[in-house]
């Protein structure tokens, strides 16, 4: 038992006071111009907007330029948020480099709000959808993304001034058992797709009675259609670090690793900066906040592939081995990284911890479902008016997500297929729009929420094309360790190819059913286990359409 220590909160208060004073001195009376630069918005020129603004503002002492992460309103990117000294904020959407002059000129009008050009900017080649940003946010409940797009991710003082790392201080003022108990009672489930109680993993690692112990933040996020963890790391990297240090404290881990996807360079950069800052403040390293607890945190990069996000594969990758899952048991909590007890939590799971430990547990308990509390990040894409990253209470229906948040399909289009979860989940027809997104099966044919992807496809997209695409992905990503998956997933693609080419027969549908069952039953990891999801759900909901392809 670790002794409770009274000091951490007092130490934290000193940090916050200092952070507030410095921020006040640096920003008082100034206009803040925040450019949202993230993985998504970079692809539509956000970094160039920031550079142009920086050039234009070089001579101004009454305004600060800040590069933030994105707030999830991807449809409106690149976004610039201008906050006047009065606190009044204006959002500029779909900003082009030509708009930068307007934004800077408007600042010259002392104290008057600049002209918002929300929704008026768009490339001439794209039809102008309804870009009602307010509706996008109004239908959401933001806990873990509350600061994404607001906080300067490169400025730890902003995070601390807003109450950041207080959850950590409170955790450290309590005994580790109390921290575990609190998270267990709050009912925090893992957000990577399996929805296993987070604190149960911690208990598992503690009871293994072997040291050192490791904590790993799973930020591999190699699942097509999922882009939530990148948003968090880019927009609020300190929230992830705080969550990791809390988890490390709870399991008495001595080292932590953030396992970041090979291609998520911006996430890695911003996490790197954040790690350096916490090290300088003594929030990682020896004797954190005077608690006597030590932990260090480092970044590891993946090398591509869906299967790397599977936790035992991730461990192999970190050890320099082939990307293959391990046989379980032993579970990573008993024998993980370098065969030591290792807790692997998803980024989204960890970023819930600062809020929970900072007195947020009662609020958390009122959000979501009795069986699955809190919020879920939903990656909404496809043919909707407002694609982006949304945070909703668990149990929110597809209809609310697609219509209230996403604004429904683009004008003149109708929804045909909704692909939920990812490549291993399933496809739903429009009649299932009232399905609430929650852990467990959304439909007995194998549709699950997974990591939280919702891809909306219009009526012109054929179900065979969608299922074939998902199956081809699974076949290409299969690591080859388990024979049923290695041999079975290409057979699925072949049968789907025959159907797509018009040379299929009812036997192909039978074979697909059979393969889905075998591969699912005889594979070690989620890739194989869930590879039948798209096929089974397509056979269930779109059976007639598929049967027509057999020519019988």
């Amino acid at each position: 038992m670790t002794e409770a220590h009274p000091d951490p909160l007092a130490r934290w208060s000193e940090l916050q006071l200092a952070a507030r004073q410095r921020l006040e001195a640096n920003t008082s009376g100034k206009t803040r111009i925040a450019v949202q630069v993230g993985h998504c918005s970079q692809a539509v020129g956000a970094a160039e907007i920031a550079d142009t603004l920086r050039d234009n503002m070089a001579a101004r002492s009454d305004a600060d330029l800040v590069v933030t992460g994105c707030d999830g309103a991807c449809f409106n990117a690149p976004q610039v948020i201008v906050t006047l000294p009065s606190g009044e904020a204006r959002r500029y959407g779909r900003v082009t480099r030509q708009d930068v002059g307007d934004i800077v000129d408007a600042l010259a009008l002392q104290g008057r709000a600049p002209r918002p050009c929300l929704g008026t900017k768009s490339e001439p080649t794209t039809p102008e959808p309804n870009r009602d940003v307010e509706s996008f946010f109004a239908a959401q409940r933001r806990l873990v993304m509350a600061q994404c797009g607001r906080n300067d991710p490169a400025n730890i003082e902003e995070y601390i001034a807003n109450g950041g790392y207080r959850g950590l201080a409170r955790a450290m003022a309590a005994a580790t058992e109390q921290v575990i108990e609190l998270v267990l009672e709050a009912g925090l489930l893992g957000r990577g797709g399996a929805y296993f109680p987070a604190a149960r993993k911690w208990q598992g690692a503690r009871s293994a009675n072997l040291t050192p112990r490791y904590i790993v933040a799973n930020a591999e996020e190699g699942e097509p259609g999922i882009f939530k963890d990148r948003h968090i790391m880019e927009g609020d990297p300190h929230r992830l670090l705080e969550g990791m240090i809390i988890a490390a404290y709870a399991v008495s881990a001595s080292s932590g690793y953030i396992y970041i996807n090979a291609e998520a360079n911006l996430s890695a950069q911003r996490m790197e900066t954040a790690i350096e800052q916490v090290r300088n403040l003594g929030l990682i390293g020896p004797d954190i906040l005077g608690s006597g607890f030590d932990v260090d945190i480092a970044i590891r990069r993946g090398a591509g592939g869906y299967v790397c996000g599977e936790e035992t594969t991730l461990l192999n990758t970190m050890q320099g081995d082939r990307r293959e899952p391990r046989l379980r048991p032993p579970f990573p909590t008993e024998s993980g990284l370098f065969h030591k007890p290792t807790v692997i939590n998803n980024v989204e799971t960890l970023v819930n911890l600062p809020f929970l430990l900072d007195g947020g547990a009662p609020t958390f308990g009122q959000i979501g479902l009795p069986s699955a509390k809190g919020t879920k990040l939903i990656c909404l894409s496809g043919l909707v008016q407002r694609p982006g990253l949304a945070e909703v209470p668990i149990g929110t229906t597809l209809r609310q997500i697609i219509y209230d948040i996403g604004g429904g399909p683009l004008p003149g289009r109708g929804i045909g297929i909704i692909a939920v979860g990812g490549p291993s989940s399933g496809v739903l027809p429009v009649s299932e729009l009232d399905t609430p997104l929650r852990p467990g099966m959304l439909h007995p044919s194998g549709v699950v929420m997974g990591a939280g992807g919702v891809t909306v496809l219009d009526e012109s997209v054929s179900v065979i094309d969608v299922v074939r695409r998902l199956a081809a992905y699974n076949a290409a990503e299969s690591c080859g360790k388990c024979t049923p998956c290695r041999e079975g997933t290409p057979r699925m693609v072949e049968a789907l190819d025959r159907l797509a080419s018009g040379h299929g027969s009812p036997n192909d549908l039978e074979e697909l059913r059979y393969l889905a069952e075998i591969v699912g039953a005889a594979s070690l990891c989620g890739l194989g286990q869930m590879s039948g999801g798209p096929i089974n759900s397509a056979l269930h909901f779109f059976g007639e359409e598929l049967a027509r392809l057999t020519g019988f």
Binding site: V44, C74, I226, F227, R230, A303, G320, T455, L457, E477
Partner: protein, 151 residues
Amino acid sequence: MERNELRPLLRQKFPQERALLLPVLHFLQNEIGYLPDWALEIVGWHLHIPASEVYGAATSYTELRLNPSGRHLVRVCNGLSCWSNGGKELLEHLAAQLGLQPGGTTPDDRVTLEETPCAFLCPMAPAVEIDARWWGRATPDSIASQIRELA
């Protein structure tokens, strides 16, 4: 990079730990553009891992390339969002422009065109990567004109 430069460079940059295999391979791919056989062999010497295991690990990761691409690498995302949002037409357009099939390289070694599964830019569909820079909301015209300008 020359063969005889590699070992001193590895000594200088990487401790001899097996767990550093992937970081080393990433580093080499950034430096050389792909992973030639001779480099894999030297990595094995440095980290004390048999060449067969280095090769085994290198071939199991989709991000690692064992063959060189053309001078410029163009990748079109074929994830569901991109594909249904114009990515399919975009790939066909570029393949026709370059006169090759996806996966191929132009005879003058100028451009390699590939499909890639999900660039995690789903809300920015369709997405195309030109030499490690991604472009969202891409149109055939905007991408084609950029490719024409590549040397």
